[in-house]
């Protein structure tokens, strides 16, 4: 018993000493963080890359676009990630943060597009919404329906209160949390455009941009808008159970679950791949990933992984990412990006 105990204690001691003295160690696996929207695409590429090359399969963490860029910009060194995925473009503030932390050279890759759909159960009536209606249903403050120039707390509780052509049931919409890129994109693409339909708010954009942003970007907090987690699957399950609930998520989830849910048309446009790629569908966004150039040559396989991602058989019109739900960039754009990526051309910061 004594021997066992001494052995265990010395093991513990050895363990903690090793722990304290562990330096930032060399690593042979690519570390990728970032958007939960890009995650399903990037994992497929990573797995193929691991199978078809001699490099180990990259490790992917789904942290959300904002969380991923924060980790990515924390510095250079193998304890920091090599690549981050984002479902929106890097913000200028994030680029500056990267620069300040010594992450000078960043390679930007636009991988394609994804549409955000507003969907409900197939058992329910198919909806045809306008962005104006979406804004009125989900914003925190809306223009007073009785006229006048003031904003009042959102009074609409039923869809039919907004427009008599809409169905007569309670507004109940499940959407992503603020850490999610889907939320950022939805707010910018749907809420802001809907918001601008009102003259009084549109005027505000020139006069007081902060106020304009806070009005257009604030989602209501009194119940009808339900913040779900990053787990889009959970939203789909809830929609299937409750035909009066609507959900907001990426197009790929609609495609995978087309048996259970259907998408509403927005401003009269159905979310088809063509409409999303051409941005005729109003709630479409581009997907990106960012590569830390300082890690190329330090962590093996980064250029090869990027090459796999940007090859025609991956992200092209008949590539395997299309099967997962990616809407490809137009061909000439793909060619340009692939060429820039091959040269490892870093961003200047002016393009943002």
């Amino acid at each position: 018993m004594i021997k066992l105990k001494t052995a265990l204690t010395s093991l513990t001691l050895a363990g903690s000493i090793a722990a304290i003295s562990a330096p930032a160690m060399a690593r042979d696996t690519i570390n990728i963080v970032g958007s939960s929207t890009v995650y399903p695409f990037a994992t497929v590429v990573a797995e193929r890359f691991g199978r078809n090359t001699d490099f180990p399969t990259p490790k992917l963490e789904s942290t959300g676009s904002g969380g991923g860029l924060k980790l990515f910009c924390e510095g250079v060194g193998t304890q920091h990630p090599d690549i981050t995925n984002a479902s929106r473009r890097m913000k200028t503030s994030e680029f500056e943060n990267c620069q300040a932390n010594g992450v000078k050279e960043i390679i930007e890759v636009r991988i394609g597009a994804d549409g955000i759909v507003i969907a409900n159960s197939k058992d329910a009536e198919k909806l045809d919404l306008t962005l104006e209606q979406v804004f009125l249903a989900l914003a925190k403050d809306v223009p007073n329906p009785d006229g006048g120039d003031e904003l009042i707390a959102n009074p609409y509780m039923k869809w039919s209160d907004i427009d008599s052509s809409l169905p007569d049931f309670e507004i109940s919409v499940m959407g992503p949390p603020p850490t999610s890129g889907t939320r950022d994109a939805f707010v910018e693409l749907a809420m802001e455009s809907g918001c601008k339909q009102f003259d009084m708010i549109a005027q505000m954009e020139d006069e007081n941009e902060d106020k304009f942003k806070s009005v257009c970007h604030s989602m209501r907090e009194d119940g009808p808008f339900i913040e779900a987690g990053e787990n889009d699957n959970l939203i789909v399950q809830r929609l299937a159970q409750d035909p009066e609930t609507l959900g907001i998520f990426g197009y790929s989830f609609l495609m995978e679950n087309s048996g259970q849910i259907q998408a509403a048309s927005v401003n009269g446009v159905e979310p088809t791949p063509e409409a999303i790629s051409s941005e005729d569908y109003p709630v479409a966004r581009s997907l990106w990933f960012y590569v830390k150039k300082a890690h190329v040559g330090v962590v093996p396989g980064i250029p090869e992984y990027v090459a796999e991602f940007t090859s025609e058989s991956t992200w092209g019109d008949n590539g395997y990412l299309v099967d997962v739900g990616l809407i490809p960039n137009p061909r000439n754009e793909r060619m340009e990006i692939a060429k820039a990526v091959k040269e490892l051309k870093p961003m200047t910061g002016n393009e943002l």
């Binding site: 304290i20 570390n31 994992t43 889009d232």
Partner: protein
Amino acid sequence: MTDQRSQAEIVRKSLKRRYRKERRFRLYGMLAIFIALASLVTLFADIISKGHTGFVKTTITLDVNLDSELMYLEDPTDADQRSMADFVAPIVAALQEQLPEVDGAGEKRELGRLLGTYAASEISDVLINNPELLDTTQTIEFLAHDRVSVYVKHAGNPRYSIKLSEQQQRWVDELLEKGVIDTSFNDVLFSRGDSREPANAGVLGAIVGSLLTMLVTLAISFPVGIAAAVYLEEFAPENKLTDFIEVNINNLAAVPSIIFGLLGLAVFIGLFGMPRSVPVVGGLVLALMTLPTIIISSRAAIKSVPPSIREAAEGVGASKMQVVLHHVIPLAMPGMLTGSIIGMAQALGETAPLLLIGMVAFIVDVPGGFFDSATVLPVQIYLWASSSEQGFVELASAAIMVLLTFMISMNALAIWLRKRLERRW
């Protein structure tokens, strides 16, 4: 006399009411147990009904002619040639032999879609290992595509939508009849790491990750916890400081696990510069989390050793340390072990603290050591439950069943140890 009689009267009168009360009280107890059991049964029934199909895989077994001309491959050992070779063609040709009516490039393409994503690399693996098999006919078992698998296992189930075209469904029906497509025990589930393709996904990576993490947790929390408990119970002087420590240990036991994750992120990754997503960091964090549980249960076990044993040992001249090491600890060991195993079982099911230290990640390769990226079983369940492919629904439930098996066996071990080693006085 009259007084006594009236008292008896009062008792008799209230007797019925008291009996009723007692019956009600028992009924409440039984109701509580019934509710607990019913929810447990519902949970298990739901998981098993969803998950049992996860233990079945759908395979396509074909006699494939590894024709060098068809594959444009002369030398399978040459990597350049392999990268240009068409490994799908011989499989589609073999499928076509089974379904002679298939004709034309479009139909062939549709036929090829019945195969799993990695069918081609299965052929290339066979040829790399045995180059002499080129231009021979081999019986090879391929994994079917997730869509085929869903159709074979769940046709007619409204929870699943069938994504095969009607033509493909007819082909699958025909191949099923011929026995080319078949279902068997899903050994892939226990022999591979994660994958985005449900047919290729397994829990082995997560099981190994859990094992490595638990080893680190055990190596740290068990000796430290027992040493702390022995010192506090046997040697520590009773003063304000030990009181303060005691209160803190009890408080720590109630701290939400996510806080330990934040601590691990700040200290182990931030301060010590340890890598993200590795079992060592996960194990350290979980060790901190289980320490209070182990200390508290070990102290209770030490307390329950009767004073007569100590006194007898001291009476024959044993030193304090001899008393503790020779008598108290061996007698308290069953209780300590039980507490530790229950603490470990708790740690095994933990995800929240691991989220922050990066163990919630897509990791395909099975970890080979304490510093390899790894994930654990509950995290694997979480990841599969949030994947969009339909095949992962059953896999998530199957993984829950695997996790529950581990939990139940750990708890059973704790009970067995207690029964086996426990001594009553």
